[in-house]
């Protein structure tokens, strides 16, 4: 057969099956192989809400979405170019979500065309016709049939046949593919591995004979040392690199896996994971440990953040260093537990009753997840502050290939800021301007100290007079000012001035910058700014905003739409936009959606174009 071979700079591939059929596994092997072949990479897990939902339904789909290319990949990208689906309901689920490109290539098991149920047969046909009508291409393959020639049970098994097939389509190094499969089945009996390798090869061979197209996706040129992992792994490993010794947690999606990664390896580093009875106890144990000199953090998501509110206030009041990670998910309340949202920015800053200054940081990439654990710990200890580090469901399970960070002996070995230890030292010996002070740590200090949730004097004793309450408030607030003064103004992506400035935070960075790059390439005067420090905000924002005609935030959270006819002057802004408006008095607009998925560069570009007044 004549093979149409096409070289592309990147491709987005989805592999989707019913839960339990192994599409995810196949995808992980494919992604690992791509990384080894030098491709830039971003993968997203497709996870059903239930453990094992009933088979053959839209809400049962499980799988993976892989964007890989010849450049560094910073986000999940736009629409899917090729989807390998195990059945027509999996296909439907992806159509409903709108993830498939019009010219998508759909590879599907043709067994459903012969299904005993007429309903299924018709639905299958209908869906495939639809794909063709949109301009897509359908490739029907005997996935199950061929698999059954090799093994007795099709599940799992089909997934390896599918993987072999994709190996052919994307010209993967077959040996390498087999090697990665072997690694993946290391722990399984040799026999299992053998049949899987057989299936892999069968898929490849079948494709070679029956398929007439191939894509070449060359690897990156520069080959700096790289790592591939997801954001939760990065938080876990980053916590070790930062010298943490205790992770105190209560399980909650999508945060739990941070602690699970740690549980498997932390002890060899001298650290451990404590699963508490609830989120209040989890943060309480972390706070108590930090108080007594062991670097500890807690990790949770929205509902858990809500439960930690009172303890966060205690951390602020007692000036015990504490890092709290919030892997954000869809809210409010239980909301969308497995989906992404950037909905906890304002609650992170303002949840605690009274005035409770704290630091809020947000990771904007997998690499940030790793690195910011060190930043967070240093600030927490040097400033005796609560630091909330925001990540989200997108980063949590998105695997990215990123530059390998250099480890620093100083950080991994950093003892908890030794505190002070002279007799007579005070528990809160605030520096007059900065509010900074050194701690007294039990068992290390020569002086005892009193730590209190009540308003207190520098000696830690209860005081209820106006002066001491005003002093303590000012000292806690000045620490934020001191930190802000130490921060650099944020760097712009794009030119230093122009028509439109896009401001973002968190996991949207890659998509925003890609959209900006596209528009700039098309001649538009747009730049972007991505904030890692959300509280305090970095200095210079008002000045920067002044260099652009318009400023607009792009976020994955709720805002009343600008063109919502029903909403009057009380328009509710997206969370960062609200903050920036209050702080800079600039009329910051916003584009925000609670879409439960990553924003696509494409949709951002479209919004920006509209804001700019059409194409240039």
């Amino acid at each position: 057969m004549a093979i149409h071979k096409q070289s592309v700079k990147e491709h987005i591939l989805e592999i989707v099956s019913d839960a339990g059929e192994g599409a995810q596994k196949a995808g992980e092997v494919f992604a690992k192989t791509a990384a080894r072949m030098g491709n830039g990479l971003w993968t997203e897990a497709i996870i059903p809400a239930e453990i094992q939902p009933p088979a053959h339904g839209v809400r049962s789909s499980s799988g993976i979405r892989i964007r890989f290319g010849s450049d560094f990949v910073s986000n999940g990208g736009d629409l899917t170019n090729l989807a390998l689906v195990f059945n027509e309901m999996s296909l439907l689920s992806r159509l409903q979500i709108g993830s498939l490109a019009d010219d998508v290539i759909v590879i599907i098991d043709d067994i459903w065309s012969k299904d005993p149920s007429r309903e299924i047969r018709e639905h299958y046909r209908e869906l495939l016709d639809g794909i063709r009508q949109r301009g897509g291409r359908v490739v029907e393959v005997p996935l199950q049939e061929e698999t059954l020639k090799i093994v007795e049970e099709p599940n799992p098994g089909k997934n390896m046949f599918a993987l072999g097939l994709l190996g052919f389509v994307y010209e993967r190094n077959q040996k390498l593919l087999a090697a990665v499969v072997s690694e993946a089945f290391q722990a399984k009996p040799a026999e299992v591995l053998r049949s899987n390798l057989k299936l892999l090869d069968a898929g490849y061979q079948w494709a070679k004979v029956h398929l007439d197209f191939q894509f070449e996706v060359p690897g990156m040129q520069s080959r700096k040392p790289m790592l591939a992992m997801n954001g939760n792994q990065a938080l876990a490993l980053g916590s070790i690199a930062a010298g943490f010794e205790l992770c105190s947690m209560y399980p909650i999606t999508p945060a739990t896996s941070v602690s699970q990664y740690l549980a498997a390896i932390f002890e060899e580093f001298g650290g451990f994971v404590h699963q508490a009875e609830d989120e209040l106890a989890a943060i309480g144990v972390a706070l108590g440990a930090n108080f007594a000199g062991k670097p500890a953090f807690t990790v949770t998501s929205g509902p858990g953040m809500a439960l930690k509110t009172e303890f966060m206030g205690l951390a602020v009041m007692t000036e015990i260093p504490l890092v709290v990670i919030d892997v954000q998910r869809g809210g409010p309340s239980t909301g969308l537990p497995t989906k992404v949202e950037q909905g906890d920015l304002l609650s992170s800053i303002f949840a605690t009753p009274g005035d409770a200054p704290k630091v809020v940081l947000a990771a904007s990439s997998i690499g940030d997840c790793f690195k910011l654990m060190q930043t967070a710990r240093r600030i927490a200890e040097d400033f005796r502050m609560l630091v909330i580090l925001l990540s989200d469901a997108n980063l949590a399970s998105g695997v990215q290939l990123f530059e390998r960070p250099e480890l620093m002996l100083d950080e991994i070995a950093r003892p908890m800021s030794a505190g002070t230890s002279h007799k007579g030292d005070l528990a809160y010996d605030w520096q007059e301007e900065t509010g900074l002070s050194k701690r007294l740590i039990p068992g290390r200090s020569k002086e005892v100290g009193m730590t209190s949730s009540l308003n207190h004097s520098p000696a830690g004793l209860v005081r209820s007079d106006t002066e001491s309450n005003e002093l303590a408030h000012r000292m806690r607030s000045h620490k934020l000012a001191a930190l802000q003064q130490a921060l650099k103004p944020p760097a712009l992506h794009g030119a230093e001035q122009g028509e439109l400035l896009v401001v973002g935070w968190g996991s949207t960075r890659g998509a925003i910058e890609e959209a900006v790059d596209r528009l700039r390439a098309a001649g538009q005067r747009v730049s972007s700014l991505h904030l890692v420090f959300l509280n305090p905000l970095p200095p210079g924002l008002k000045e920067i905003f002044g260099r652009f005609k318009q400023v607009m935030c792009v976020e994955i959270n709720y805002a009343d739409a600008a063109d919502d006819a029903f909403v009057g002057e009380g328009r509710r802004y997206s969370q960062l936009a609200f903050l920036l408006r209050a702080q800079t008095l600039v009329d910051v607009d916003c584009f925000a959606r609670v879409c439960g998925r990553a924003l696509r560069p494409m949709e951002i570009a479209e919004v920006l174009e509209k804001k700019l007044g059409g194409s240039p």
Binding site: A35, A281, L407, M450, T451, S452
Partner: protein, 322 residues
């Protein structure tokens, strides 16, 4: 503090053993009401620490919120006046962080049995090495007289002006139902020697030693516990070689009963029948490993450089080549 005769010649790095005495454990002057039972507990704890020559900088006293939770201010030691109901999680963190510290946890009955009930049950199960005291006056003191879980049925309080609606929670009975319980005793503020002896035994225990202290509050629950121990019919001292020694002088405060603290079933029965309040050691299992022991035993102790190597190796596995 009585100073050693050579104190004035010595620096802080003194090689001589310095005897700690009661004054070394005095914090701020207590601000409890006159006649408050908490005062006696403070004295007992100060004696306890003196008797054990505990270095104040190595003692951490954690509390919640309530009259009772003002305790840490009045004791010279590291103090942590936390938030209502959460003294146990904070204490657990302290004990996990540094097992060498001696952790004293002070709670009120509302603090521990009501808002803190979940932590209470789980702390017992975790069996962290700490000495937990509930100063139980059967009322909310600091907020001025609302019912607590241990307030007797029918008691008039400000939230139950016609009398409490429910029979009181029996904390001993409940704790005897928690698996992994390792030490449980009960004593009272009007029995200073018994109080001290009980705390002594709790102090020596490895694991979570829980002591419920019946606390006289002359202001809001003066009638509790037979007006603070005046009715000997209501109390019964448990004695045993493994238990708390009973001074013969205590006999006017209650009856006596032999009870083997290894016998959980009998302890349960004593606690649930509640004919009389049992005073003394209800249960002790000296063999249960404490949680921080279990956790620390599993830890490696790599040097920083080794950590770096190990972590680099972990990263290698996530490198595309790896």
């Amino acid at each position: 503090m009585d100073q050693l005769p050579i104190d004035e010649f010595l620096t802080d790095l003194c090689p001589f053993e310095k005897q700690l005495d009661l004054d070394d454990y005095l914090g701020e002057a207590p601000r409890w009401c006159q006649g408050c039972g908490d005062l006696g507990i403070l004295t007992a704890v100060q004696k306890l620490l003196r008797d054990n020559q505990a270095e104040p900088t190595e003692v951490v006293c954690v509390s919640g919120i309530g009259c009772s939770s003002r305790f840490p201010y009045y004791l010279k030691a590291f103090g942590f006046h936390g938030i209502h109901g959460r003294a146990l999680p904070i204490s657990t963190g302290v004990a996990l962080a540094n097992p060498k510290l001696k952790v004293l946890t002070v709670m009120g009955d509302g603090d521990c049995f009501s808002i803190g009930a979940g932590h209470w049950v789980h702390a017992i199960r975790y069996n962290v090495n700490l000495l937990a005291m509930v100063l139980d006056n059967e009322i909310y003191g600091l907020t001025r007289e609302q019912t607590s879980p241990t307030t007797p049925l029918g008691t008039r309080t400000r939230t139950t002006p016609k009398g409490a609606f429910l029979p009181p929670l029996n904390p001993l009975q409940l704790m005897l139902g928690v698996s992994n319980l390792s030490f449980l005793a009960q004593t009272a503020t009007w029995l200073p020697q018994h109080l001290l002896a009980t705390l002594q035994q709790a102090y020596r225990h490895q694991g979570l030693a829980f002591v419920r202290i019946l606390q006289h509050c002359p202001v809001f629950s003066p009638q509790a516990f037979g007006e603070g121990g005046k009715d000997a019919e209501l109390m019964e001292f448990l004695y045993h070689v493994q238990g708390i020694a009973i001074d013969p002088a205590l006999e006017r405060f209650g009856g006596r009963r032999e009870h083997d603290p290894a016998d959980l079933a009998t302890a349960q029965r004593l606690a649930s029948e509640r004919e009389r309040e049992p005073l003394g050691l209800l249960y002790q299992n000296p063999d249960l490993p404490s949680y921080e022991t279990i956790r620390h035993a599993a830890l490696a102790h790599p040097s920083p450089a080794e950590k770096l190597t190990l972590l680099n190796r972990r990263l290698d596995r996530l490198a595309p080549e790896g």
